[in-house]
């Protein structure tokens, strides 16, 4: 039985040290980079997850909502543990644990049993169902299955069960987020549109954003404006809940009534045009009021754009407190610009985050040099290139779409930069290149509390500038010759 591959039996050998050294040097070369970029089938260290993870994040953002994975049990465990590790918070979610027989007979009985148990055990106000690979491949019909579950009275007829198809073999977590969010809104708002009713509220959608600080920041900005609002998919309390000795499975989220009434809102703003595109398109066609889709507000210009949009939609001037905040942000940028000016950066992550990072770096006079999205589109490439083209600091920057972090490693080794911006997964390439990694993305597994520090808005400018500039100053202190070790920097 041994040696089923027909290969010759060989002695155990050690790879010679010289050969190890040769290859270790070779993987940093231009020659290697070319081979690396010639890959067509192998993906190494991608910077994106699969759709259902995003769907789960969207579901967590609603009051009393239990995310429910229709598919294999293992998938649910993977999504949950990823969210646990990033937020260092519980992420209750269930699966209907499909196995081989599910693959043969379809997943209806699993789904039905699962809904009945989950409803009884975890007492949710809503169960948000989304798929992993298996039911997508065998073609399970969620619409029919859920209708049948209600007919069989396994769950009450009026109980909201939004569902989304989130196949892992296309798109990424940002698409799954979008798919689940639109389904939740469709489900909750059904029949809730009232002719002539206007809540007077702004509906704000943050997009796929795993930074609880950002959500709190949006709320603070809207409170400063004095505008009534509904933040849709609000994970701020869900993934940043207090420890008072009581475990609450659903410690926050957008109230379901508010979400239902969002269809009668005065206006809706969706942030992150890539992770909210389906949702926004549906809202535009179905919601009352005015609508706008804007990029995530990283840096001054994009925050200005958001504030002006809100101001216009509600006929209210930008409040003095935010004007002062803007002034302080600009002040700290001018104070600190020397530490970032001309510094080259490699960036990777989700489309909406990348657009934000690039815009902000250009405002600081820094150079976004290698910009990489491992699941992007031509549209994103064009948009990023347009951003670069519009600034002298964007010259020389290159956009790489559908490349991975092993490509990025080749880029930073052959064409060095001063720092990397991305998620935890980039720590290996940053270490090899001996440069800092600024963890402004998702997931962050290896630092504490970063998801609690807002990156958007003027407050975000303060946090990003402080983090980056102080790290650069630390590097000077840690690496300079003794005679250049000075009191002031």
């Amino acid at each position: 039985m041994a040696n089923n591959l027909g290969l010759a039996v060989k002695p155990v050998t050690e790879t010679p040290e010289a050969e190890v050294r040769r290859v270790a040097a070779w993987i940093n070369t231009e020659e290697y980079k070319e081979k690396n970029f010639a890959r067509t089938a192998l993906t190494i260290n991608p910077a994106h997850a699969c759709q259902p993870l995003g769907a789960e994040l969207a579901a967590h953002g609603f009051e009393g909502t239990l995310p429910f994975v229709h598919g294999s049990q293992g998938c649910a465990s993977y999504y949950r543990s990823t969210l646990n590790r990033h937020f260092r918070e519980p992420a209750p979610a269930v699966s209907d644990a499909m196995t081989e027989d599910g693959a043969v007979f379809g997943g209806q009985s699993n789904l039905h049993e699962g809904l009945e148990n989950a409803y009884a055990l975890y007492k949710p106000k809503m169960i948000a169902v989304f798929t992993s690979c298996m039911p997508e491949i065998i073609g399970d019909d969620l619409t029919a299955f859920i209708r049948n579950a209600k007919q069989k009275e396994l769950i009450p007829k009026e109980f909201p069960v939004p569902y989304a198809n989130t196949p892992s073999f296309n798109g990424s977590h940002v698409h799954g987020y979008d798919a689940m969010l639109v389904s939740i809104l469709q489900t909750l708002t059904e029949g809730k549109q009232v002719e002539g009713r206007c809540t007077g509220k702004l509906n704000l959608i943050a997009g796929f954003d795993a930074n609880t600080g950002n959500y709190r920041e949006y709320k603070r900005i809207l409170e400063a404006f004095g505008i009534p609002f509904t933040l849709l998919g609000d994970i701020s309390d869900v993934f940043d809940s207090p420890n008072d000795g009581v475990y609450r499975p659903y410690p926050g989220g957008t109230r379901l009534d508010d979400a239902a009434d969002s269809i009668n809102g005065k206006a809706t703003v969706a942030l992150g045009t890539y992770s909210t595109s389906k949702t926004f398109a549906w809202i535009r066609d179905n919601f009352a009021g005015k609508h706008a889709a804007l990029p995530m507000p990283f840096g001054i210009a994009k925050t200005d754009a958001l504030l002006m949009q809100i101001s216009e939609l509600f006929g209210k001037p930008v409040p003095e407190s935010l004007k002062a905040e803007r002034g302080r942000a600009v002040d700290l940028m001018t104070d600190a610009h020397q530490y970032m000016h001309g510094k080259k950066f490699a960036l990777y992550g989700d489309p909406d985050y990348l657009l934000g990072y690039v815009s902000f770096l250009l405002e600081m006079g820094a150079r976004p040099h290698h910009i990489l999205c491992s699941k992007g589109s031509k549209k994103l490439e064009k948009e990023l290139n347009a951003l670069l083209a519009a600034s002298p600091y964007g010259q020389g920057g290159t956009v790489y779409i559908n490349k991975d972090l092993w490509h990025l490693r080749s880029l930073v080794m052959t064409d060095p930069v001063d720092a990397v911006i991305g998620d935890t997964h980039g720590k290996f390439l940053a270490r090899d290149a001996k440069i800092p990694l600024f963890r402004f993305g998702f997931p962050v597994f290896d630092r504490v509390n970063l998801h609690r520090v807002p990156l958007i808005g003027y407050q975000g400018v303060l946090n990003i500038v402080s983090t980056i500039c102080n790290q650069f100053i630390d590097i000077v202190d840690e690496t300079c010759e003794e005679r250049h070790f000075e009191m002031m920097r």
């Binding site: 465990s77 646990n84 081989e100 491949i137």
Partner: protein, 481 residues
């Protein structure tokens, strides 16, 4: 080595059964029927399983289980450092399992170790037209970019099996073409009921494709052993392997923590297999016993009592020179271990711990807590079989609760009743219990600490348990207002 019957004050078979019945009340009838056989009070004297195990997870119940792929990639194949492990299928499974099990590796990343994520990143067209062609191109690319890789494993994810791709044929053709071991592992996540089947499937592929394909150049010695079921979590193997070497053994290969493909392939030449994680690798010990006549022994490297007992058990199988060395090693470390116990035991005496983990830990660690004066009041496994529970019964105090594939709700309810001073479980349970102001340690990953195995590990384990239970932060949970 049977222990005396141990009791915990306030816990009787009746009180435990009452607690179980109360939890079961929350379930709908069908769910209750399915869950009931998985919860029971321990019967320490019987020495056999009191619960049913290795059954399908009940749909809609918040289980902590993983899947066959997770067992294959995360546990068995993933830790082999000098091979490229391809997660064949959509991007997610590989991404989620990337670097999250803490099986540390020597070597240079991308040169001689490959603790990276390799995937075929299946797209819709691969599902429609099949991914075999892509796989053969991918294997060529991997060989070209990573010339020092000693082999490639292909770990299939759900869609691969569902669409009927023949990765075995691709692996065979590519292995010949590239003159490289390429191992197909049909470990799709939908197979079986938990990660346990993934261990078994992986073991079968090691049997079929790896073992006996290499030979050690030096002659076989009387003390040549292999360390099986040691995954180097937080550097565990870097504690256990030197310990065995100090006792006079030549540890020829480690399965699979910081593992090397060729040494694993030559394991058929050792004299004895020493197994730590029985659940994940007992199949392979049995195969090697039948096929090559290699005996095997189960050991436990958690805490000084079990280490001492284990080393003596091991020495019994060898000659006087080993016995002398083992006694010398025990004597040398006993003093150090006593110092650790003297330091921590006063702060931990009588504290109660609830365990819920996978593999071997729900039973293997019980005595390590007891070394520190603690009491185990509940234990259970995510993916055990009844032979694991047989081995658990004598280790756990009588009448304490045993839970198989526990749901989050069950664990939470048990904790309300048992009021443990520590819960030792996984990442999915960690923050729930911490919100309940119950100290917690992650026992899959040592909570980013470690090693916990061997004499090097025990001081770290003791420090961490003390740190968790006696952290002043717990005193802040109740606000004074």
């Amino acid at each position: 080595m049977s222990k005396e019957i141990t009791k915990v004050e306030g816990i009787t078979k009746e009180s435990t059964q009452q607690m179980i019945d109360k939890v079961l009340e929350s379930y709908p009838e069908k769910g209750r029927k399915k869950r009931a056989p998985h919860l029971a009070p321990n019967d320490q004297a019987s020495g056999c399983a009191c619960v049913k195990s290795n059954k399908k997870t009940v749909p809609g119940v918040m289980s902590a289980r993983g899947c066959a792929y997770a067992g294959a990639k995360g546990v068995v194949w993933g830790p082999i450092r000098d091979m490229v492990h391809v997660s064949h299928g959509p991007v997610g499974c590989g991404w989620y399992s990337w670097g999250t099990r803490r099986n540390l590796m020597s070597g240079i990343n991308g040169v001689t170790n490959f603790a990276m994520q390799f995937t075929s990143d299946f797209q819709e067209k691969d599902v429609v037209y099949g991914g075999d062609k892509k796989l053969s191109v991918l294997l060529r690319e991997a060989k070209e970019l990573f010339p020092l890789a000693k082999g490639i494993s292909v770990l299939s994810e759900c869609p691969v099996g569902l669409i009927g791709d023949d990765i075995n044929a691709v692996a065979k053709a590519s292995a010949a073409e590239l003159d490289l071991p390429i191992i197909p592992c049909n470990c799709e996540g939908f197979r079986g009921v938990s990660q346990s089947l993934g261990h078994h499937i992986s073991n079968d592929t090691i049997r079929d494709y790896i073992i006996e394909t290499r030979e050690f150049p030096e002659p076989v010695g009387p003390y040549d052993i292999a360390l099986i079921g040691e995954y180097n979590i937080g550097g565990d193997a870097w504690s256990t392997k030197p310990l065995l070497e100090e006792c006079g053994f030549n540890v020829k290969s480690v399965w699979t923590g910081d593992g090397e493909m060729e040494k694993i392939a030559a394991t058929h030449q050792v004299k004895l297999n020493v197994i730590h994680c029985y659940r994940s690798m007992n199949y392979m010990c049995k195969v090697m016993e039948e096929k090559y006549g290699i005996p095997w022994i189960e050991l436990n490297f958690f805490g000084p009592s079990k280490i001492r007992e284990s080393l003596r058990k091991l020495a019994e199988l060898f000659d006087d020179s080993i016995k002398e060395k083992v006694e010398a090693v025990i004597a040398k470390y006993d003093a150090q271990m006593q110092a650790v116990i003297d330091e921590y035991r006063p702060r931990l005496e009588g504290k109660k711990v609830m365990l819920y983990v996978g593999g071997l830990r729900p039973r293997h660690t019980i005595n390590a807590y007891e070394d520190l004066g603690m009491i185990c009041v509940g234990s259970g496994y995510e993916f055990a079989h009844s032979d694991d529970y047989d081995r658990t019964a004598p280790e756990m105090p009588d009448a304490t609760v045993v839970y198989d594939d526990a749901s989050e709700l069950e664990l939470e309810q048990f904790a309300h009743v048992l009021k443990p001073d520590l819960v030792a479980s996984g990442i999915k349970e960690k923050y729930l219990f911490q919100k309940m102001a119950i100290p917690f340690r992650q026992m899959h990953s040592w909570d980013y600490s470690g090693p916990y195995h061997g004499y090097l590990g025990f001081p770290i384990f003791a420090r961490d348990i003390d740190m968790a239970i006696n952290s002043p932060t717990w005193n802040l949970v109740q606000a004074p207002f």
